[in-house]
């Protein structure tokens, strides 16, 4: 099974077209394994992106260097998925 331990989902809030362009270029770097849940479109729409643990640090540094604001939407995706599975098993038993 694919493991998402340490993967975070960041909510990124671009504030201008230049930042959107930077995020689009990031989205095109497929080797990073980023999974855009919502894509960079406009300053009115936050960008949600799942970031694998192995590239978490460099991506955060990259965002800071480009003065792009973000918050952590999901701290550890695997924790959330484990909780989802636990709830399903509990309900199944019921």
């Amino acid at each position: 099974r694919e493991n998402f331990v340490g993967h975070q989902v960041l909510r990124i809030q671009p504030t201008n077209e230049e930042q959107i362009s930077v995020l689009r270029s990031l989205a095109e770097k497929h080797d990073l394994g980023l999974d855009f849940w919502t894509e960079p479109v406009s300053v009115t729409k936050p960008v949600d992106v799942r970031i694998p643990f192995k590239v978490l640090q460099p991506i955060k540094i990259f965002l800071l260097e480009n003065d792009i604001q973000y918050s952590i939407m999901i701290q550890d995706l695997q924790d959330l998925l484990d909780e989802e599975e636990r709830v399903m098993k509990t309900r199944s038993a019921q």
Binding site: E2, D35, I74, L77, L80
Partner: protein, 308 residues
Amino acid sequence: PRNTDGYDYANYHTLNEINSFIDMLVAENPNLVSKIVIGQSYEGRPLNVLKFSTGANRPGIWIDTGIHSREWVTQASGTWFAKKIVTDYGRDPALTAILNKMDIFLEIVTNPDGYAYTHTSNRMWRKTRKPNSGYSCVGVDPNRNWDAGFGGAGASGYPCSETYRGPYANSESEVKSIVDFVKSHGNLKAFVSIHSYSQMLLYPYGYTSTPCKDQSELHALAKKAITDLASLYGTQYTYGSIINTIYQASGGTIDWTYNQGIKYSYTFELRDTGRYGFALPANQIIPTAQETWLALMAIMQHTYNNPY
């Protein structure tokens, strides 16, 4: 569960459990519900469609849920809709009137291979499961694979991308089977494709910024639908054309259906606004389905009241 009353609508379910639900619903309601298999997925799973019908040769309304496999609240809502239809027929005058004149088709799991894969191997899987020749990356984004601006901006030509459009339009059997069904039916009047998340109700187009010819009517109906939706729990939706509201996307489902002449073509993005993404807690399923049903009824009633 031994019947659909015993089915746990407030929980997420595997593909086998959903398929069992479908068979139970058909067995319990033989005069209203039947199952149509419109094709097979790449891995050979049946593409099951529920048909709710009270007569022959009726115009139809199509609803599909969860073409992107990881959007579990969508398939769960689809299951709830199916039960809601059989429960409300004969009780709710509006739905009864619709079903006395039109058929409703509901494909609960539009991408069964992907859905099964989210339960067994990768919870965050989005695409189909067909291998891509020459690449280790598997799958095509089935919402970029339709023959509407196929290959244009807003879709990727790279097989490892989450929005890979596929080698050619309708390359995915999950898409081609719906295309064949829509063409052979020939009398669908509304087509609603349901996704999650982002809380949006969208109409064509996604591949072009040219407004569709029915934009003003579709816009007004979208407003009515999301107002009805919000009346239950206050959930706020945005609405508009795909390209203006979310992003440019080529090869999308409802752009194709609209170009086929199905005027009332909409696509939903259900809850939430991003706190959980695709791991929305199961206690959100029923509220999501309930509020979405109000919007669906608005679209279906408008379709019923405005024949074309």
